[in-house]
């Protein structure tokens, strides 16, 4: 894990460099163990549109699956979707909670209601740890944490031991709640130093200052009355301006009644203004009071934040647990809304999906249109490779993708879009679906395809699922058929026997069924009536004979002349192909594996040629051991060039 540790260190160092030093909320590091998750290859996440649709107007799987009510749940779900599990126990743990929520809709809805009031606990508590939280947010945190106790109680009272286990992982955080309730005002402002943040009864100085600030007017009135009585000046006033602050104003008539200790500050036409020691002291108090209040409140607030910060660990754990519950309970809502069922997982190698549907496409259909469900069965003996032929737009790609999507959904703990599903755990899913030009980096469609397929064939395991859609499309027909044939053969003969769905245009591949017992042909049923095509979208055994490309072209509006000529050409080619087809099926399939092994030295690779020539002239009888090792070293260097 050396490289990983270095990478982790880099991240932390970067935080330091960007002056983010208050990071107590980064409490632990977890390892993403590749042995625990299903290996989705680099194209699968994109091809299956798990997180993002392939085009702007599309919909991704996450958009359909996300019925979470908290932001933490939404984020966790995204993680779950790219990291499906391989371990039956963990998956079933999740599934049982979903099942519980499905059977107890009332309790479920109650919990979801509580969850809705919780908001983004995760991000709030991180802000607390970084001391970047304002009073309003802190009060929000308080409200969120208060929802935990009722949820915990609900779970403890359920009869499900898993939920009781979860309940015990939740912390009530009563200390935090009490502390915040005591110190923080119920509806604080966003700033911490502009007042109205801290409750009364928390700090003596603060309370006193408040009295002064708030009872200012009363005090002044009192003072005014006092002075009026004492001096007998009935029209005495106390007022304030920015230049002199507070002052006593006396009209000229009463000038002589002014006591000696008053200090004259300002003379006006018909009045005089005085200040007194008492008044000035009071003024300092009041004006200073607001500033001081601000400073005291800010300090008390920071103390509160730091105190709450001690509980970061507990609250983070709560957030994690609640996010899980949000995800799992939302799966139950999903299952109810979209009619999903609980998948049966086992350690075997068979996949059976009865009446399975494509979870995303079925939600995009118009009201009234139902998605046509299909049964899909794959195992290692009878039906390891399904060759799926059929015209364009018949739904071949959809069928491939829905198989993978249902399996992924099952292995993240959600129910699936089938009436019944028995799934032998899959550990790797490979897809090669659809053409993708990577012209910007100088690769053609075919190059990309071959690269992707090569990476697949070099990495299969006995629990892999492979989806191949239109392999060999980007090159000439004969090349394409040959490559597709060889790939299908390779997969069939590979000791791991990975389950494969192979959608293709090449009807020649239907002949594979005759020579390989674990390959089966299927096609998607369509009907032709009145020169029009009706897509029935039902999976049926057997290869399809016709490719309805010309019909589709006609539907698309191609000129009549083009259609007519195309039909002519087709009949001509088809008769040629029948002759060719006979030749292919009478030959004993493709060259045997043994032939292929020798081909390393028959390749037209100049480097290997040069090595071969060298080997042929070596005289082993006169070669010393050291010379032999040196020669080997030379060969290695040549190969690495």
């Amino acid at each position: 894990m050396n490289a990983a540790i270095i990478a982790a260190g880099v991240c932390l160092h970067y935080l330091n460099e960007t002056h983010h030093n208050q990071v107590q909320h980064i409490q632990s590091i977890s390892r993403i163990d590749e042995d625990e998750i299903v290996r989705l290859d680099r194209f699968t996440i994109r091809n299956l549109e798990l997180l993002q649709p392939a085009n702007e107007n599309g919909v991704s799987l996450i958009q359909v699956l996300d019925k979470t009510v908290t932001p933490m749940g939404a984020r966790l779900l995204k993680k779950w979707v790219v990291l499906p599990l391989k371990d039956m126990v963990s998956i079933n743990d999740r599934l049982s909670i979903v099942e519980y929520a499905q059977h107890e809709p009332e309790k479920r809805d109650q919990v979801i209601d509580y969850l809705k009031s919780i908001g983004d606990l995760e991000r709030l508590i991180s802000k607390v740890a970084m001391c970047r939280v304002n009073p309003r947010e802190l009060q929000q945190l308080n409200r969120s944490i208060k929802q935990i106790a009722p949820i915990k109680l609900l779970f403890l009272n359920s009869n499900d031991e898993k939920l009781i286990g979860i309940a015990n992982q939740l912390h009530d955080c009563t200390w935090v709640i009490d502390k915040i309730d005591k110190v923080l005002k119920l509806d604080p402002p966003v700033a911490a130093n502009k007042g109205e943040v801290i409750n009364t009864g928390v700090n003596e100085d603060l309370d006193e200052l408040r009295k002064i600030a708030y009872s200012g007017k009363d005090y002044l009135l009192q003072m005014q009355q006092q002075e009026q009585q004492r001096t007998g000046i009935s029209s005495l006033k106390i007022a304030y301006n920015n230049v002199f602050g507070y002052y006593l104003e006396v009209t000229n008539v009463h000038k002589d009644k002014v006591p000696a200790e008053w200090m004259r500050k300002q003379t006006l036409t018909n009045a005089e203004r005085y200040i007194t020691e008492e008044l000035k002291q009071y003024e300092d108090k009041i004006l200073g009071a607001e500033d001081k209040m601000g400073a005291i409140e800010e300090r008390l607030y920071m103390e509160l934040v730091v105190a709450v910060g001690e509980y970061v660990g507990q609250i983070q754990q709560n957030a994690l647990v609640l996010a899980r519950i949000d995800c799992l309970f939302s799966f139950a809502v999903l299952a109810e809304k979209f009619h999903y069922t609980r998948p049966q997982l086992n350690e075997g190698k068979k996949i059976l999906l009865k009446d399975s549907r494509h979870p995303v496409i079925e939600q995009q259909l118009k009201i009234g249109d139902a998605y046509i469900a299909n049964d899909i069965f794959l195992d290692q003996e009878q039906q390891q490779v399904i060759i799926l032929t059929g015209p364009n737009m018949s739904g071949k790609s959809a069928l491939l993708r829905q198989t993978a999507l249902n399996i992924i959904m099952a292995q993240i703990g959600s129910f699936v879009a089938s009436s019944y599903a028995e799934i032998g755990l899959v550990d790797k899913i490979f897809t090669r679906v659809g053409a993708s030009d990577n012209i910007s980096s100088g690769e053609s469609t075919f190059m990309v395809e071959m690269t992707e397929t090569a990476s697949i064939l070099n990495n299969i395991s006995d629990r892999s699922l492979i989806l191949l859609d239109e392999i060999g499309r980007g090159t000439s027909t004969y090349d394409g058929v040959s490559i597709a044939w060889a790939i299908a053969d390779f997969i069939c003969n590979h000791p791991a026997k990975p389950k494969t769905l192979f959608a293709t245009h090449y009807h020649e591949l239907n002949d594979l069924e005759k020579t390989h017992s674990s390959i089966r042909n299927y096609h998607i049923e369509i009907k032709e009536s009145n020169q029009k095509i009706i897509f029935l979208r039902k999976l049926k055994e057997g290869g399809s004979e016709h490719s309805f490309g010309i019909h589709v072209a006609k539907m698309a509006g191609m000129p009549q002349i083009v259609i007519g000529k195309a039909k002519q050409m087709l009949t001509q080619l088809e008769s040629q192909r029948e002759d060719l087809g006979e030749n292919m099926s009478t030959k004993k399939g493709m060259p045997q594996m043994s032939n292929i092994q020798l081909s390393m030295f028959q390749l037209n690779d100049p480097i290997l040629e040069s090595i071969r020539n060298e080997l042929l002239v070596l005289d082993l009888n006169t070669l010393s051991p050291i010379e032999a090792l040196m020669k080997l070293n030379e060969f290695k260097k040549t190969l690495n060039k």
Binding site: M1, N2, A3, A4, I5, I6, A7, A8, V10, C11, L12, Y14, L15, E17, T18, H19, H20, V23, H25, I26, Q27, S28, I29, S30, R31, I32, D33, E34, R39, L40, D41, R42, I45, R46, L51, D66, P71, M72, A74, R75, K78, K79, V82, L83, D120, E122, R123, I125, S126, K127, A129, M130, R132, V312, Q316, S440, S441, S455, N459
Partner: protein, 196 residues
């Protein structure tokens, strides 16, 4: 690129000292009630934020571009800069101007980058915002993901395919690579990511 024979004002001197430490970021320089940007930063800022680009005297006769906004508007403008992919260094006044006779001390208090962000206005609440780091070692690589807004911290190690898959799945906002490993990164990821 020093071509300053003209005397610099003390302010600009201070600015340049700080700016050399953060060449790749937009430096928000606090001057009184305003955060100001100078030179190329100002041009970028004025374009991204739609604020006026003006000039300030810089020693005798020479001028330097200037664009700024009041400090209390930081929360309005900062997210826009980050969303435009810019790194932003915030340089505050470190002492009370009333207490010093010479130029007030200034220092960078925070460097905001797309991967290190916890401002609500920049983040999408449904999406985690990851900082990632990759370290290549022969044919394997180690990768780590850190979301500062939630405290999530994960690490993994595996072959290049596995690392690629994780990067695709987590979609980090920012990836850190050692300078001498740039080539390996590019061969793996091509031009998919914007690089500094």
């Amino acid at each position: 690129m020093q071509k300053k024979e003209v005397a610099e004002t003390p302010l600009m001197k201070q600015y340049n000292q700080i700016k050399t430490k953060y060449p790749g970021a937009i430096l928000l320089f606090r001057v009184g009630d305003f955060y100001e940007t100078f030179g190329k930063d100002a041009i970028k800022a004025s374009q991204i934020l739609g604020i006026v680009l003006t000039k300030r005297a810089n020693g005798a006769a020479s001028h330097i571009e200037l664009a700024g906004f009041p400090h209390h508007a930081l929360d309005t403008y900062l997210p826009k800069l980050v969303r435009a992919g810019q790194r932003v260094a915030i340089c505050d006044q470190l002492e009370d101007p009333k207490l010093t006779k010479t130029i007030v001390k200034r220092g960078v208090t925070e460097l905001i980058t797309p991967g290190v962000s916890y401002n609500d206005k920049i983040l999408d609440h449904k999406v985690s915002n990851y900082l990632a780091a990759i370290h290549f070692e022969d044919s394997r690589a180690g990768v780590s993901f850190l979301d500062i807004s939630t405290g999530e911290f994960m690490a993994a190690e595996g072959d290049l395919d596995y690392v690629d898959k994780l990067i695709q799945g987590f979609k980090p906002a920012e990836i850190i690579i050692a300078k001498n490993q740039y080539k390996q990164f590019q061969s793996l990821f091509g031009d998919r990511f914007y690089m500094y």
